[in-house]
Each structure stands twice: as structure tokens, then as C-alpha cells.
Amino acid sequence: AEVTVFAAASLKTALDKVVPGYEAASGNEVSVVLAGSSALARQIIQGAPGDVFVSANPGWMDEVEAAGRLAPGSRRDLLGNRLVLVAGVEGPAVEIATAEDMPAPAAEGRIGMALVDAVPAGIYGRAALESLGLWQDYAPRVAQADNVRAALALVAMGAVPSGIVYATDAAAEPRVYVRGRFAPDLHPAIRYPAAVLEGSETGAGFLDWLEGTETSAIFDEAGFEVID
Amino acid sequence: MSLRVEVRRAVPGFTLDAAFEAPAGVTVLFGPSGSGKTTLVNAIAGLVQPDAGRIAVGDRVLFDSRAGVDVPVHRRGLGTVFQDARLFPHLTVRQNLCYGRWFARVRQPLGPVVEMLGIGHLLDRRPAALSGGERQRVAIGRALLSAPRLILADEPLAALDDARKREILPYFERLRDEAGVPILYVSHNAAEVARLATTVVALEGGRVVAHGPAAEVLGDSEVAPLGVRAIGAVLTARVARHHADGLTELDAGGVPLLLPRVDRAIGTALRIRIAAHEVILSRGVPVGLSALNHIPGSIAALRDGEGPGVIVTLDTPAGRVLARITRRSAEAMGLAPGQPCVAVVKSVAIAREDAGG
């Protein structure tokens, strides 16, 4: 049987590692369709043939659910993530809970973020800065990229001194250094909801596999918080 | 089959308003540069739409503004040869020639046309590799091969040298005489006009200023539409004998005329043109002169021409003959209407180029 998984593009690395194990165990063939959560959600609403949807954004999962495209009761929060402040220069990593905790690289030059009104990582980041009371200050300096990977690339290439990205992205990019971790309560919880799509026969099995211990290790290694 | 044209068309700065009838044969349209010849040809071809008028070839109405008739260009069955050759650059000469044939009612063989136009060695070339004259010859062949009901030729020979002109003119004559295809022929060249024209239409400033059978229009000393040098008489003669020394004797109303061999059967009617400026007048029959042709007659009129010239109209058994001489000679000779007089014409002055069948 085949399993088509619609997943937010940022999950690629992890899913690439998960899939072979599942295929070996189940004998099913998995096709991973990667794109922005918004594009995937719209396509699912328009009838895209899939079995599982893993969104980087609860909002878009809500939309899909409202459109009646989810297998009832199959939605769950699969993963969580942390926001970090990365910089091109090495230094100690701090926990950021107040404005004073912000590391030096963020104080000057532009800050790379994903679109602060549209892309989840950007929305969370803006919320965090607002909680810290820094948004007014930082807003003019923010360079918004169309996705969080592009924001990270800005830092990696030295185009900006610092950026706010997911911990998972920072972990895999050798050219950047994590200089701060935002306290989880500064922004709404970062959740990657997953669900089986309506009418799918193979989706449930794959979703269960995603929650298995073997996969948890993979996600954990990639820097995600595995939610039980 | 005759062509009837009645066309009005105005563009800023120029109004064409011309009506004429062209019987079978060649109707030559002439007039100074900018007089509207090309515009008229285009209107007949259907390439420009007249503001008003009617155009018919025989019974076939091609355009009638009142009846709302406007036959599409490709149904008009006209062969056109334009001033600029307008060959299809992407086709070889052979393909250009065959283009009209694809659509023609009748498929003529390529051979005779190719040979007549001397373009056999060019068949596989493309137009860009042809000289100006070569191009024009191919354009003529292309039009001929489309088996048209009427041929529109807009100065088709303007770019050709004299030798080629002499070679191609007979084909137009043959078309006129044998195929019965009417030809509307734009030309500046007096010799071409005289040789080809059955009917002459003179345009000036978009209007017809003279119109009628070639003999009349060209023989009328008051109408000099081609300029003084073009005045001349057009006579009809029959081939009487072919002499052994290469001369052909014509009989023009009883008057023998000698000219270099004309390859026509004895008895054939020919039109010959005697240009007024090539005629010498003599009081009596001249002796000891190299000119062989003497046409006796009596003076019908003396009319002052342009400059120091006088145009003398002579009534002769051969028809009206015009002579352009100086006023000084006329006075010295005491010429007056009613007087007998002999027109002296060198045999070779009735040139082949000016004699047509």
C-alpha cells in the first residue's frame, strides 16, 4: 500500500530518517510531499490525495479540520519546538526570559526572522519579542524571510548578525551559533499538529509509527520536543 | 473580357477619383510620379478599399460600394507584378514560381515561362541571392503562372535592362493577343506604352486626363501626356513580304514601309508607331537619301508645339502621321495646311521596339 504524507517542509530531514524504518516494518511505500503548511492545507482542502498531514502551524490544521478533511479524532499534537536566537559569531548560549537577557549580537544590525505576520516561526518570534517588550525597538531592524530556513540562511551567510529561528534549524547549521533560548512562556506553545486525512486507510498506521519510540529518538535528535 | 473601374479614394493630401473602361488587350496607365497609379492598381487588386466605386472584370463584379460587393483579394483571380518584386524570401525561385500555380484554376507548365524569362539557372536560389533584375523577372513569372483573369503590372520592367525588356515585352504581347487576358500595365516608358497599349489611360493628380484607344491618345498632338518626345502616330499595317536582305515590307493603306525583319506571318496586322520627332518632311519625294520610307500625304494641321517646334499633322493613305519639326524649317519650307508633303522615315527608325503586334 502507499502512504502519502503532506508535511511542512521543515520536517524533511527528520522524515527522511523516519520513512525507511517504517517502509521496512510495514511494507508500505511512503511518499513525502513537502511544502509550506499553507500551500499544503489549501491543497488538502481542494482535494489533494493524501493520507497524513503534518502542519507546522495549528492554524492551518484548524482550517483543514473545518473543511471536514480530517479523519475524525485523528488530530494530535505531534511535536514541539523551541525558538532560539542565533548569531554568526561564537559565544555562550543564554536562557532568555527578560529583555536584559538578549545577547549582544541581537542589539545591532538586522535580525533575520521568518515573516512575522504569516509564517509560524515569525509569528512566534514576534510574540516572544513582544512579551519581552522589545518588539517596538526591534521591529524596524527585522529582515523577514519567506520561511524560517531562509531566515537562518541570512545569518549563516553573514548577511545579518543574528536571527530568531527554531532550535531544530539551528542545530543542523554549522555556520551559526545558538546564543540564546527563548523561554517557552514568552510565546504560544510551538506545536506541530498531525492528523489522518479523511478517507485514508493507511494514514493511521503511519501516524502511529510517527509516535513510536524509534521515531521519537529521531525527532529528539533533530532537536524537536516530542509530545506524548 | 473587359475591366471597368470607377474608384474614389481620399487620403490626406491626395484624392484618387478615376473611372475608365479597359477593353480586352493592354491598357497602359501612365502619368507622372505620384499621380495615383499604384493606388489605383492596389484598389483593383483589393489591397486598398476605395471609399466608393465599382470594379468589374467582364461580368464579374469585384467591388461595388453600393451593392456591398467586395470580393476577397484571393478570389479576384488577378496576377500582380509590383514595382518591388516582393518575392517570398523563404522560398526558392522555383517555389516562388509555383506559389500562384498551387491555387490556380489551370496549371501551366513551368518550362516555357522559365525559359522565356531566362531564369532557368536561378531556380534553386533564394531571392536574397538575386540581382534586382533577376528578382523582377521571377516576380513576372510567378504572376504569369497563377493563370490570372487580369494581370496588374506596376512598372514591371522598370528595373530591367533594355535587352531583357525586349525579351519580355513579347510575352506580354502574346498574353494580350493569344490568351485574351486583359492587362493593366503601369509604365513611364513611351516605347512600352506604344508597343503594348491597346488603350491608354493617363492619370494626373489622381484624375484621368486622357483616355482612349492608343492610336487616338498617342496620335493626338494636343495630348502629350508622355512629354513631347512621346508624340507620335500609331498606324496599322499588314505584313506584305519578307525580303531576302533582312527587311520586312509592310503595307500601310497602300504605302510600303520597310523595317528590319518582323517574325510574323504574311498578312498579320501590326501596329507600328512613328514618333513625331523622328519624321523628316520633304516637299517632294527625296532622292539620294538613305531613308527608305516615304509616306506621301497632305498637311492637315500645323500646330505650335513646345519650344521652337511645330507639330505637323499629315493625312496620308497610311493614316495620320505626326511630324515634329522646327518652326524655322516649317517657315523655310513654306508649309501650310492643304499642301502636299512627304514624310521621310528611316527604315530603321521604325524600330522594332516601337513596333508591336
Binding site: T13, V33, A48 | T80, R86, F88, H90, P127, S146, L152
Partner: protein, 226 residues
């Protein structure tokens, strides 16, 4: 193509297939529309012109979105949606639409350069307008048509936004080179893989371009008879 890996090979082959179909199928329409815009006058000419250019003006994502909605189950084109939705045919459609303005412009410019006197002459020789088009205009604009086709092909090879929005990024079905590149760019360390694909895509498109230049010169020489 072992060094590429099966996914990349799939993406490459799919991209070429999608781009070729997009080009070939849209070419007749492109010629027709270009001819209409260059030589006919009819009501709605300006509207047609505008519509042809829309994909150029709109951000590709918007075009993709409009296609998604249009061919969706509730969309006005829903009935034929099944043929395109989330299939390589849809990718070809998206690529074809995005490339269409380029194709039409190139062809239109070359039509406008044809001397109408030649077309007139063909008509006097007995050719009805469609024949004139086929035997005179079309052969003369071949270099322009070729240019238009290659531009369209190149554009189709690079099309990303409309494609991924309309038919997603399904490996083996709608994952073209550009969407594959995008996928690699989404993961840390994917740049090397992405670069490989970029070079591949550039190679194919440049090849097509060089071929077209070469063909174009030959055709132009033939047409001009030089």
C-alpha cells in the same frame, strides 16, 4: 545518473517532460494568440492581451492559487480538474501558463516584422488568409516561433511558485527540479544537493538555448535566403 540519486533523476526527467509538454501544447495557441494580437482587430483585443500577460504580472503563488481554486472541486473548471489536479499534467499546465506571455511576445514581435506587402502578394496569387498564414507568415516567423518556444521551455524548467501551489510537490508525479531544489533548501545542509540540481537544470536549459540559437541562425539564414 547514479550520482544523482533516484529522486533527483525522477525530478529531472519529470521537469523535462513537463516543460516539453507545456511548450509543445501551448505553441499552437501561442502562435494563434500572437497572430490575433499582431494582425487582427476585434473587440476585446486589449482584454485578451491583458489576460495573456496576467501570469507575468501576478506573483507565481497567486497564479498557482487561482489555478488551485479554479480546478478545485468547487471551482468553475472543476469538471476537468481531475485531469490536472496533483498530476504532472497540472504541472505542465501551470508551467505552460506561466511561460505563455513570453512565448506570445516573442512570436508577436516576429509577426509584426513581416512585411504585409508579402502577405498581400500571396493573397493576390490566390491564397486565402489561412493559406497565406501557413505558407508565408509562418515560415517567415519560424525564428521567432523557435525563440518563443525555447523561452517557454526555459521558463517552464524554472517554474516553481505556481507549480508547487497548484499541484504540490509529489515525488515522481509533480516534484520537478525547482520544487526539489526548494525541498533541499528547506533543510540544513541541503545546499549542496540543491546546487547539484541547479546545475542540472541550468545545463538542460542552456542546452536548449544553445540548440535554439544554432537552429535559429540556420532557420533565419534559410528564410532570408542568405
Amino acid at each position: 545518473m547514479g550520482w544523482l540519486g533516484p529522486e533527483a533523476t525522477d525530478a529531472l526527467l519529470l521537469s523535462v517532460k513537463v516543460s516539453l509538454w507545456a511548450t509543445v501544447v501551448s505553441l499552437p495557441f501561442g502562435v494563434l494568440v500572437a497572430h490575433a494580437l499582431a494582425r487582427w482587430s476585434f473587440p476585446g483585443r486589449q482584454v485578451l492581451n491583458g489576460m495573456v500577460h496576467l501570469p507575468l504580472i501576478l506573483p507565481p503563488v497567486v497564479t498557482g492559487y487561482l489555478l488551485l481554486i479554479g480546478f478545485g472541486p468547487q471551482g468553475p473548471l472543476g469538471p476537468v480538474g481531475g485531469f490536472f489536479a496533483f498530476r504532472w499534467t497540472g504541472a505542465a499546465l501551470a508551467a505552460g501558463i506561466m511561460a505563455f506571455p513570453l512565448m506570445v511576445r516573442a512570436i508577436r514581435l516576429s509577426i509584426e516584422a513581416v512585411d504585409p506587402g508579402l502577405e498581400d502578394t500571396a493573397r493576390t496569387l490566390g491564397a486565402a488568409r489561412p493559406w497565406v498564414f501557413l505558407t508565408v507568415t509562418l515560415p517567415m516567423i519560424l525564428p521567432g516561433v523557435l525563440t518563443g518556444a525555447v523561452l517557454a521551455f526555459a521558463k517552464a524548467m524554472g517554474e516553481f511558485g505556481a507549480t508547487i501551489t497548484f499541484v504540490s510537490n509529489i515525488p515522481g508525479e509533480t516534484q520537478t527540479l525547482p520544487t526539489a531544489i526548494y525541498t533541499f533548501l528547506q533543510v540544513p545542509g541541503g545546499e549542496t544537493e540543491a546546487l547539484k540540481l541547479v546545475l542540472l537544470s541550468v545545463g538542460v536549459a542552456m542546452g536548449a538555448l544553445a540548440l535554439s540559437e544554432w537552429l535559429g541562425t540556420r532557420v533565419a539564414r534559410r528564410v532570408a535566403g542568405r
